[in-house]
Symmetry: D2
Subunit: 228 residues, 4 copies
């Protein structure tokens, strides 16, 4: 999996801080931009996070190029609706030599890994034969596996990202999208550490777990450690 933050709103924390100040100040936006020191920006962002008043987080967006992920992942990813996507099309791009994603639980089991690789070869052969029989790639792709590698460009604003991290950094999320979420969080923290200081699943951010009997135990161990 390759996750690259290819662009984002410049100076995202200042943009958020300035927007927040505007709501509670008689001064205009332009003056606010100039007046705040980096330290004031950081403090105000921290306070916004603490209060949970996240509407100003929407003013800043982050765009990622994601490669080396399966269509299992992208089918889950695009369910997040406050986001924008451009995905490599299986209708228009021929998958003559497709890569595929192997789940760690398969990779760790030599017999399963061999079986997995074998069926991928069978699928590849079927795809090529269907093409040779004159089936257009948009229909030939019906035989392609969920594991088939795809590429996608994703844009989310910071508020939507926080929601995404809450759901997808959770241990209940599937391993692949959790890896993506973790990698995206690493990236955005490099450029906006205060915005994403408290990002993550609710056990980490609120000391709460909504998973009931399905809980992973992380909250318990956080509580035993005496803090989050």
């Amino acid at each position: 999996m390759k996750v690259k933050l290819i662009c984002h709103t410049p100076d995202p924390e200042r943009t958020v801080a300035m927007s927040a100040r505007l709501c509670y100040s008689a001064v205009g936006a332009e003056q606010l931009v100039e007046k705040m020191s980096p330290d004031q920006v950081a403090k105000l962002v921290d306070k916004i996070v603490e209060m949970g008043h996240l509407s100003t987080f929407e003013h800043v967006s982050f765009t990622f190029a994601v490669e080396g992920v399966s269509r299992v992942l992208t089918h889950q990813l695009v369910r997040h609706r406050i986001a924008s996507y451009s995905q490599q099309s299986q209708r228009y791009v021929k998958e003559h030599d497709f890569e595929y994603i192997v789940p760690p639980s398969v990779a760790a089991n030599p017999q399963a890994a061999a079986r997995f690789a074998a069926v991928m070869d069978q699928v590849r052969a079927a795809y090529d034969e269907l093409a040779a029989l004159g089936v257009h790639q948009e229909d030939a792709r019906y035989v392609l596996a969920n594991a088939t590698e795809t590429k996608i460009v994703v844009t989310m604003n910071a508020r939507s990202l926080l929601h995404f991290f809450e759901l997808r950094c959770c241990a209940r999320a599937q391993w692949e999208i959790r890896r993506l979420a973790d990698a995206m969080l690493v990236e955005v923290r490099k450029v906006a550490p205060h915005l994403f200081r408290k990002a993550g699943p609710t056990c980490v951010t609120q000391g709460l777990c909504g998973e009931g009997d399905l809980t992973c135990g992380r909250l318990d161990s956080l509580n035993k450690q005496g803090g989050r």
Copy 2:
């Protein structure tokens, strides 16, 4: 493919008409509901469609149960973001005896159809063997094909549906989602004929085609027939 309209806002055209009247009238909503005859409702809805002022169409929603479709279709479908979805999960439901969708271009070609069926058997065998080797179904499903049958519940409001029909009843959409869109349109026209009177691709509704060189020729033939 099985497409069933399982519920919708009652009396959808009256709801739209009443909301539209409220915007331009000093009278309250309650009185408006009672006052309009079915004929007045139909005329007002026709006028709203004509003017393209579709915001009132959002007040009415339609929920469909869709079965017998592939994950090719659902991956495209869930890209429509002004909509709500509940899909049968491959993480939690075991696909021991999965059905699959055969594209018409494959079904029409006996050699291709045989090849297609053969690889589906190979995939099924691999899925079962991975399960037998202790791989959890959420990872075993990585070998499942795009063609695998899935079920989904979809809710869209009438405005979002019009946009969906515009894109997906178009000849450029893939056959499977076009079939779904056509079936959904048949269903909603039964309960709200005036709301969806002009629904469809832009060649039908506006006499325009945005597909450039990729055009299907439908607009030309509509124009030759002397009308749309």
Copy 3:
């Protein structure tokens, strides 16, 4: 203020329960609809609420006709974006005899109430004179007060409503929109008591308050009462 639930998805709790079951069952949607008893529906909805897996709540929508509210309220209301609105237009409807909303803090203070009524008369006179001077109503309305009565039709799905109730039933919300939210909650509980069993501000639903120093004290008193 007059708040009327004018329509909603029929049998909303069954629709939610059926959608939820589909996700975790190999059985089709149609069979699920028929199979569940009212008691099974109620239990499943309660469990969904408990787990916080609210995506299935989006399949059901509720439409309200709201009258006797100010434009202070509607300017706040329409900030909720996962919703649909049709509002009485001040551009197209002449406000010759407008009603206005008096805040309780003004009504409770005779001097303030008299001052308030007097300035409303001055505004009405100015509006009429501007009209007499040939100013079109869409411009004459620039003198109209925030307090001017308006009417609006609002549609939200159940998930968006839960979010709305969380923010707007909170003591930190302004009195007018809190009244609206409280009235809407009363209405939806009549037709879907299980869906909205735990609706309200986070102090009530989660035992949490995000308002920091601005807190109203309700959480403390809930805690002292030994339960929520």
Copy 4:
């Protein structure tokens, strides 16, 4: 009115072009970023506009600080839901010395202008007296006029902006929001001329008018000039 583009996704046209290329190419996103010349970017963006395949336009966002506008304008503006807003609050900011917006039709008529100014003075006096009587500013503001000046920060992505320009650069939009839309269009064209080359009302972009009998005549005069 003061409209300032305070930040935006860097190199917006390259971001759009790269996202579009990814969909139709087997090459990864990273390589695509580096490979395209400015001329290739411009040509691809032009083609995307021509085809109307605008989903890639969502990857780039633009943030504006807007001052010197009325609450008539912001009440209309915030109806655009695919956008983010931070507005100066009348609950938390005291309007002791508020400015107000005078419609051109009023300004051009000396009698109307005098009447307008007089009622603004009456409103100001009432607001101050209510405050002196102990009414909190969040309730005192009920007397404030629609014309009262406000400040707002707005963020929209390029696709949402195109829709905004289509509706609000139209002669049927009210003068104030049309001025805002025109000013925003000037700003974004400076940094992304190809993205917004065809932006504007449908008479300009498609040679169509949806306003029926309410049409302004612009389409007719465009047609007479022999081109758009």
